[in-house]
Amino acid sequence: MATVIQPKGALIDLTKCIGCRGCQIACKNWNSRGVQKTFMGGSFTNPVKLNSETYTLVEFVETGEKNDLNWDFIKVQCMHCKEPACASACPVGAFQKMPNGAVNYAQEKCIGCRYCMVACPFSIPKYEWDKKYPIVQKCTFCSDRMADGMIPACAKSCAPGAIYVDDHDKVVAEAERRIREHPGKYVNHIYGKEEAGGTAWMYLSSVPFDALGFRTNILKKPLPELTWNMLSTIPYKVGGLVLLLSAIAFIRNRGNGGGSDEKGKEG
């Protein structure tokens, strides 16, 4: 009997990242992502943003002021939400949360409506704009590697050990332990533990997350609820409307004389 697959989680400890971008290269290698012409965009972040050929990117952010400057390196990639907004938004079910924790994208289903891109609170799915028949691209959590018992390519390549991958529960426990055992080192927040109802990838930081450019206004509950509240009540709305409209029509068409009624109504 096969062992039960535990959903995986990952913790990025930003205090350990040295900004070497080894993860970025390892990711490109493993996932056969192409190269692009780059340019100096005013910061060391290169390419400037995540794109269809770049599943993960180290952003270089300067915080603090004058004599107390900080240079922070933030690795971004798909957060692999527990209840992904992209999966709920997709009209053809191309996105799916897998038992191993990864949010998988089945490109052969995709119609290219790009609702996933707008729905994602972290703006992760990217599009192949220059192709005639484009698909969405995003980090896969290296599902193929994990199936063989390996950790994702980015985590494997991380020299300072800033990325810790394990079963999701263990990762959360480890993050809590680090905050507890190093008082004052981290801000008391595990980014991703509760954001959007919880994500597989989480962050620890010594600098407040909003200063690093993280979206901090993301609801701390699963986002698919927001649309499902509307969609799940459709059967009742349909039933109610049909009854109401029929009743109105019955009353208004009584005797089918109706002609005198509307004079009072209009004008």
Binding site: P91, C110, I111, G112, R114, Y115, W129, P134, T227, E266
Partner: protein, 377 residues
């Protein structure tokens, strides 16, 4: 009376020619888009994946076609016989509108050849899935609601009788389907509370979209009634226009009260005066597109003048369009992100409008659209 004069109006006129040129340019741009892809023909980016086509062709387009269900509801459910003469033009407008929305969607999606996927690969948690189904079904309903015009023309009296028998259930289906997807146009944005500007985000967004769709649907019917009477040298339908003006005014009151109340409830009212671009656009939209036509149409003198109703309708159309644009774009722009459509994007949108005008003109010229009423009286 209405139908007799129009026989003198030829299909081709200078105006028609211009519209055909606009359509041809749009068709050429669409060919280019299919040949070279989205990146080559649009200014869409990873930051702004939903551009002009989604905002205008889909979000605004669906709302503008709301006159179909509003007028059929008035005539067939509320038994307001006065509006019977404009039921068929309203259904025609909606039918053409939805055809354009469907074409617009096929042009916009990255995989046009897979447009049918949502009908086969079900994902009932998706608003987009629900909208695709509603639009497909409602287009069919509109086709059937409009079919009598063809059947009368072809004198297929038996089929006509069968269809008339099913008219009431069809109308009900149309109203219900419209409620669902008109509100779902706002429902799209429910899942992005962190992105949509607080001036537009609300858990009640679906209902606000629905109410404003009714207002703009009626405004569109008024607009068309005036324009087509002018184009086909018919007499203006004063009585109906006054009634429509009143209907628009009532809907606008409901909308403005709901919108302002909702903003206050969400605690975002003060943001309307924060001086940001978003707040200025919001005030422009609410005051210019909703409150101003509301005040105008509340005056009996305006309601009873053709130009008064026409001008107010134009304001409402602009206001609701702006509302859809604002909801969509302020969710994506800002933080150094900007977007302005390419010439090709604009050409395709204009081409779609031109196609709609041509289809409308053709239908009015060759099918019994405006003179159905006389046949019955």
């Amino acid at each position: 009376m209405n139908g007799t004069v129009k026989k003198n109006v030829p299909f081709f006129s200078f105006g028609t020619l211009i519209v055909m040129v606009v359509f041809a340019i749009g068709a050429y741009a669409a060919l280019y888009r299919f040949q070279h892809g989205l990146g080559a023909s649009t200014h869409l980016t990873d930051d702004v994946p939903w551009g002009l086509w989604i905002a205008f062709d889909v979000l605004a387009g669906v709302a503008l076609a709301a006159g179909g269900f509003s007028i059929t509801a008035a005539v067939y459910v509320f038994n307001m016989k006065k509006y019977k003469p404009i039921a068929r033009p309203a259904i025609l407008t909606a039918f053409i509108g939805y055809l354009l929305v469907v074409i617009g969607i096929v042009i916009d999606i990255g995989q046009p050849l897979r447009f049918w996927h949502p009908l086969v690969m079900w994902q009932h948690h998706s608003v987009m899935f629900e909208v695709v189904w509603c639009i497909t079904l409602y287009s069919t309903v509109l086709g059937l609601e409009f079919a009598p015009a063809f059947l009368e023309r072809l004198k297929l009296n038996f089929l006509l009788k069968v269809l008339k028998f099913f008219m009431f259930p069809l109308v009900i289906a149309g109203i219900v389907l419209s409620f669902l997807h008109q509100s779902s146009m706002g429902g799209f944005f429910l899942i992005m509370p962190a992105k949509v500007n607080p001036l537009w985000y609300s858990s009640n967004l679906p209902y606000l979209f629905y109410i404003s769709a009714i207002a703009v649907g009626l405004a569109m019917v008024s607009f068309e009634s005036v324009v087509s009477a002018w184009a086909f040298k018919r007499e203006q339908e004063h009585d109906i226009l006054t009634g429509l003006g009143k209907g628009i005014a009532i809907t606008l009151v409901v909308y403005v009260v709901a919108k302002v109340g909702d903003l206050a409830y969400q605690g975002a009212l003060s943001q309307a005066f924060s001086g940001t671009i978003a707040s200025k656009m919001f005030l422009l939209e609410l005051v210019g597109g909703f409150i101003m036509p509301l005040v105008l149409l509340a005056l009996p003198a305006v309601r009873q003048s053709v130009s008064g109703v026409f001008f107010s309708a134009v304001l409402v159309i602009a206001g609701v369009m702006l509302n859809r644009f604002n909801t969509n774009f302020f969710a994506q722009l800002g933080n150094g992100v900007s977007y302005f459509p390419t010439g090709r994007e604009i050409a395709i949108t204009l081409g779609l409008i031109a196609l709609g005008v041509l289809m409308f003109r053709m239908a009015v010229k060759f099918l019994p659209i405006f003179h159905e009423a006389e046949a019955e009286h």
